[in-house]
Symmetry: C2
Subunit: 368 residues, 2 copies
């Protein structure tokens, strides 16, 4: 969201206030998938006695609570990497892990490997730090990778890069925000295991459970751990104690793998519904059918004013994430692009939303 | 905590694991003062229905939730300043507000006015940003002020500086973390009202309610608002949605001013107990009797190895915050200093803790 509240941002915000609006924006998990009962129980347990309040409402150490760090280490152990919980830093979501890492590593002028369309929160951070972007892993000073499921495309772009990156020594920022959300349940190779001394491993429950707790984690190379803890302390002292306690309580009450399997099914169906609806109503758009995650990235191949099209969409009762935000390098001829999130919409809303997009398209095309 | 987990830090951490240890460290509010029932009710309400879960567990905008921003604006209005809720940014505690501000304002070599003993979280941030410290308001490029109650001394150091700063144009970072915690209930002058265009106003509930929610706020000069929102977004997207919802729910269920009056009484008594105990057992130490806040700062005037004394303390079953961390400028002849927090200790623990400090003093003095 570089540039603050610009006109497009303002439109999105206004649109979000309209109850009848259908929103393909935001990258929200399905609220109905959040384990409500376990969460209620965990919340009550966290404040039930004075010792528990002490543990859940007071300060904790900058690196976070041991229980949650142990859970993160346990998940990595299931994928074949044994690390101590002490090597994990709990962060304020994946974004803070990215921010800490990029501020430590990204020198002005650094050539950063990114996918040509990529997560704006990372692009903005890197641009602000003076990065230039490259698609060539052989020339990168630093790589930003989203194994398993890339955002916004929803495919796995790792293999193509990894052949080259494997033999190089540049640092790798590995963002696994969506990695557990492939519809086929397959996990990507754990790069942290393959290159422990240069992988900055980033994870979160923002997409698998919910983002409102602001819990993520960073596993830096051991040589960086102490400096990163100092940076984290300077930034905000620590991640929320209550949020960590609540999450640990939740994780102890559910079967996380079973939860993942259940949301895989939900999101697979919603993705398929979005694909079908687009093929029917908007054959002008091309996209890669998502293999996981929350979204697909649709390209029109057509030059069309983004703001004008977005205004037409709002008028038709639908919004989405403007594609320009996801494009790493400026295009000579910018074409209209859309990130469409299916994750938080029921199938009838997806179908109706696409019909509204098609109506907006017809309106904008007629005006152009 | 610059330098990561050094020997002193390691000692503190080990000591915290010992159940019989009496800790004057940390700046913790009294757990028994946290409104437990209201918090339980607010937590349950936040997850009771799907719309509520949507509002409390999903993403919110970078600036935070309107309800909480409205509450902050309302508190400022009671002190005579009318601002819109839109001018408030909810942050991950006061520390993030300080971090955002200092990273935006602090140029390398900047001369920053600080109290000679001062909050280490601010000192570390400023040192890392290349600051030099000054005690002279007439020469400062930037001032860091804690009106009402300074940390760690617990007195009001504002008036002496303000006579000079009032007529200058340098930016003022105004940290009100403890401002509502003067034992006499008096609030300091609201500098934000007196100099809206150059005050970066920082507040938090970490000391008045609890720190584990990581909720603070920043009211920057209007010209900085948009850039600060972008910085906040890059750092961690937003403060925790659940923590904000929980806090709003709590604030709607209690009388905050009544709560403040009640903790004023509690902390006044504990401070008086600590003062009496020190006067009885450790007349070697000098200090300013605290006017508010959680701590006093005791100076021995004596050259003594800090690590050796701290080890003696641990052996006697007591810890505190090492004074060296609070000293802005290196001393030619470093003398032993201690921050002693009374806030989270019952009176019998304070008395016993001071007796242990005295035993450690005797032991260290005999060894020296």
């Amino acid at each position: 969201m570089a540039g603050g509240v610009d006109r497009l941002e303002q439109l999105i915000r206004e649109a979000c206030e309209q109850p009848s609006m259908i929103s393909f924006a935001g990258g929200f998990p399905a609220t109905e998938s959040i384990p409500q009962e376990a969460l209620s129980e965990a919340a009550l347990a966290a404040v039930r006695t004075r010792p528990r309040m002490e543990a859940s409402l007071q300060y904790c150490w900058p690196e976070g609570k041991l229980g949650l760090r142990t859970w993160v280490a346990g998940r990595l152990a299931q994928r074949g990497l044994r690390i101590a919980p002490e090597e994990v830093i709990i962060t304020a979501g994946a974004q803070q892990a990215l921010s800490l890492t990029y501020r430590a590593l990204g020198k002005p002028g650094a050539r950063v490997l990114v996918d040509p369309v990529c997560y704006p929160g990372a692009l903005d951070l890197m641009r602000t730090g003076g990065a230039t972007f490259t698609r060539d892993p052989a020339r990168a000073d630093l790589a930003y990778l989203m194994p398993g499921v890339s955002n916004p495309v929803g495919n796995d772009t790792l293999a193509a890069h990894w052949r080259t990156l494997r033999d190089r020594s540049c640092p790798l920022i590995v963002d696994e925000a969506y990695a557990e959300l492939r519809f086929d349940g397959a996990l990507p190779p754990l790069l942290l295991k393959l290159a422990r001394d240069r992988v900055f491993h980033v994870g979160t429950v923002s997409k698998t459970i919910c983002p409102g707790l602001r819990i993520g984690w960073l596993v830096p190379p051991p040589a960086h751990l102490s400096a990163f803890l100092d940076d984290k302390t300077r930034d905000d002292l620590q991640a929320g104690t209550f949020a960590q306690t609540l999450l640990s309580g939740l994780l102890s009450r559910i079967d996380y793998d079973q939860h993942l399997r259940s949301v895989h099914g939900l999101y697979r169906e919603r993705a398929a519904c979005l694909v079908r609806s687009l093929e029917r109503h908007l054959p002008q758009l091309s996209f890669h059918p998502p293999e996981g995650g929350f979204s697909l990235f649709a390209e029109s191949g057509r030059r069309m004013d983004e703001l004008a099209f977005f205004e037409a969409c709002v008028a038709c009762g639908v919004i989405y994430d403007p594609g320009s935000r996801f494009v790493a390098e400026p295009e000579h001829v910018p074409t209209l692009k859309l990130r469409l999130c299916f994750s938080s919409l029921a199938e009838d809303a997806i179908e109706q939303g696409v019909a509204r997009l098609a109506a907006a398209w017809a309106r904008a095309a007629a005006a152009a």
